[in-house]
């Protein structure tokens, strides 16, 4: 009797594990707040991060000015960051910014078109803060530790 050839099954199982692993990481919380790799600012509380993205806190604890970067309102990464990290809805954040901008009491965050542009801007702007998907992190930026 010929031995059962299991080599196809091995490949299939491997592929299934890889697929499961990648899809798991895609639905876990995987958008992170980022700062430039060279920046001295390393941590913020989650509340301070939310206040910063609401543009009601414009300074780092060390006194340096904060510059906030965001993706467009309808971008799914923006929506994920708002809901998973900040616990606010994108449309409410936009309303918060509109109320500041059109009453002269604040500015809106700076808008970029893509994660690549986000990283490029944050790497060279002092005091900059933004967000990307975790798998986009590279040597120019690092994720901001929240406590």
């Amino acid at each position: 009797m010929r031995a059962l050839d299991l080599s196809h099954w091995r490949h299939f199982c491997l592929a299934a594990i890889v697929f499961a692993a990648t899809s798991f990481s895609a639905c876990a919380q995987n958008v992170v707040a980022i700062v430039a790799a060279s920046t001295p600012q390393g941590t913020l509380t989650r509340n301070a991060l939310r206040t910063a993205f609401s543009m009601r806190l414009n300074k780092w604890p060390d006194g340096n000015r904060m510059t906030v970067y965001v993706l467009p309102d309808y971008d799914p990464i923006h929506a994920a960051f708002c809901k998973e990290v900040l616990d606010v809805y994108p449309h409410q954040l936009r309303l918060v910014w509109d109320r500041l901008v059109f009453s002269g009491t604040g500015q809106a965050p700076r808008e970029v078109e893509s994660e690549d542009e986000m990283i490029a801007k944050i790497a060279v702007t002092p005091g900059a803060i933004g967000y990307v998907k975790r798998n986009k992190l590279d040597e120019r930026v690092r994720s901001l530790e929240l406590y």
Partner: protein, 410 residues
């Protein structure tokens, strides 16, 4: 062409120029909701809204809307905000607003201020603004002309009436502000002290009648608002208090003496956001007073009251529906207007207004929005005076209004 007509003509040209600039910048700005200069240190934003209004019952709201579709509700604005250094910001906005019989779109400075942040940490922020500042009143007043920030084509007229809008515009003075944060809860306060801008024909006519020639002039005002809110926008509560004073500037052979006008009010505001539902309520009461206008016009102090309750439902990211019940009493001790009717022989229904509104908003894109709403109104308590001053067409008690609006912003 006399001086006033010449001014009107220039205003129209400036208004058209502003409109063209806004459309041009919107087209050029692409999808981004701002134009940035000097590497982001300077931001330029703008908005443009146009409404179409149709009503019945001889009741005109913002133009001759009961005879034809009125397009006399246009709002255009352009603003610039700059970060000068760590602590100092400056911001200014120019606006052109046409709304009904009076406003002809004159270009004016809506705000122009310097903003000094004295303290800015996670738990505490304190600062001071000076110049021309917006009046911080209720949830919506400081951005009342920007359709994207309003819960409808027009704001609830019991709390934010068009016909005395000069009282809630902006003032020249100082505005201290602060934020205290504790966990998810923020306490915000904002005050404004200075000289209000009351030189508006509709506002003057509301207090003194449509036949007067003179205009109010702002004297002094003090407005304050404290707001307790959830940092995640799940709820907010606010209390606002305002005291505004003005003097009457007589014109020519004016039968009225140079009297004074005064508005004092207290406003409670509450909002609850339970996605996709949102509930908002505001309740105002106060006194509108005039005095020293001579024997033909005895001193009066009228206790007004207004409130609305609104429920909104967000269907996906682009559609939003709302229902609102808005009610207003010119005199809270004469709610059905019977005393007014007996004393003046005017219809009793000018003393109140109950407005049921159904509205929808559709966001075509983040920069372009369309709205439609239907109002079913009993009473004419907040109908603009100048839109309805022609003899022979008396506004009716029961009336309806359909409003459409398109709004662009960047």
């Amino acid at each position: 062409m006399n001086g006033y007509a010449a001014l009107n003509f220039i205003d129209r040209r400036l208004q058209r120029l502003l409109a063209l600039t806004l459309v041009g910048v919107c087209a050029g700005a692409g999808p981004a909701l701002a134009v940035e200069l000097f590497d982001g240190a300077v931001q330029v934003h703008g908005f443009a809204s146009q409404a179409a209004i149709r009503s019945n019952g001889n009741n005109n709201f913002l133009g001759p809307s009961s005879q034809q579709t009125s397009f006399r509700f246009t709002e255009l604005g352009l603003n610039v905000a700059a970060r000068l250094d760590e602590r100092l910001n400056v911001a200014a906005q120019v606006m052109s607003r046409s709304a009904g019989a009076d406003a002809h779109g004159a270009l004016r400075v809506d705000f122009a201020l310097a903003d000094l942040t004295l303290q800015d940490t996670e738990t505490l922020r304190l600062g001071l603004r000076g110049g021309r500042v917006k009046i911080p009143y209720g949830f919506y007043n400081s951005t009342r002309d920007i359709a994207f920030t309003r819960p409808g084509v027009v704001l609830p007229q019991s709390i934010y009436p068009e016909r005395v809008r000069a009282f809630s515009d902006s003032l020249d003075g100082v505005a201290p502000y602060g934020r205290f944060s504790a966990g998810n809860v923020e306490l915000l306060f904002e005050a404004a002290l200075g000289k209000p801008r009351l030189d508006d024909k509709e506002t003057t006519a509301t207090f003194l009648g449509s036949s007067v020639r003179g205009l109010f002039e702002g004297d002094r005002a003090a407005i304050g608002r404290v707001m307790l809110q959830d940092a995640r926008s799940k709820w907010r509560l606010a209390y606002s208090q305002a005291h505004l004073n003005g003097d009457y500037r007589r014109a020519g052979s004016d039968p009225l003496a140079a009297g004074q006008v005064k508005l004092e009010l207290s406003l409670f505001s509450a909002e609850l956001n339970l996605e996709p539902w949102s509930f908002t309520a505001e309740h105002v009461f106060g006194y509108a007073s005039t005095k020293n206008f001579g024997i033909s016009r005895p001193d009066v102090s009228v206790p007004f009251e207004g409130a609305y309750l609104q429920g909104a439902w967000r269907a996906g990211t682009r559609w939003q529906w709302f229902l609102r019940y808005d009610t207003y009493y010119q005199d809270r001790y004469d709610r059905d207007g019977s005393r007014l009717a007996t004393a003046t022989r005017l219809p009793s229904y000018i003393a109140y207004a109950h407005d049921r509104t159904l509205g929808v908003r559709f966001d075509v894109s983040p920069a372009f929005m369309l709205r439609a709403e239907f109002h079913k109104v009993t009473g004419t308590g907040w109908l603009p005076v100048l839109d309805n001053s022609s003899a022979g067409s008396v506004p009716q008690r029961e009336w309806d209004m359909l409003m459409l609006l398109g709004s662009l912003r960047f």
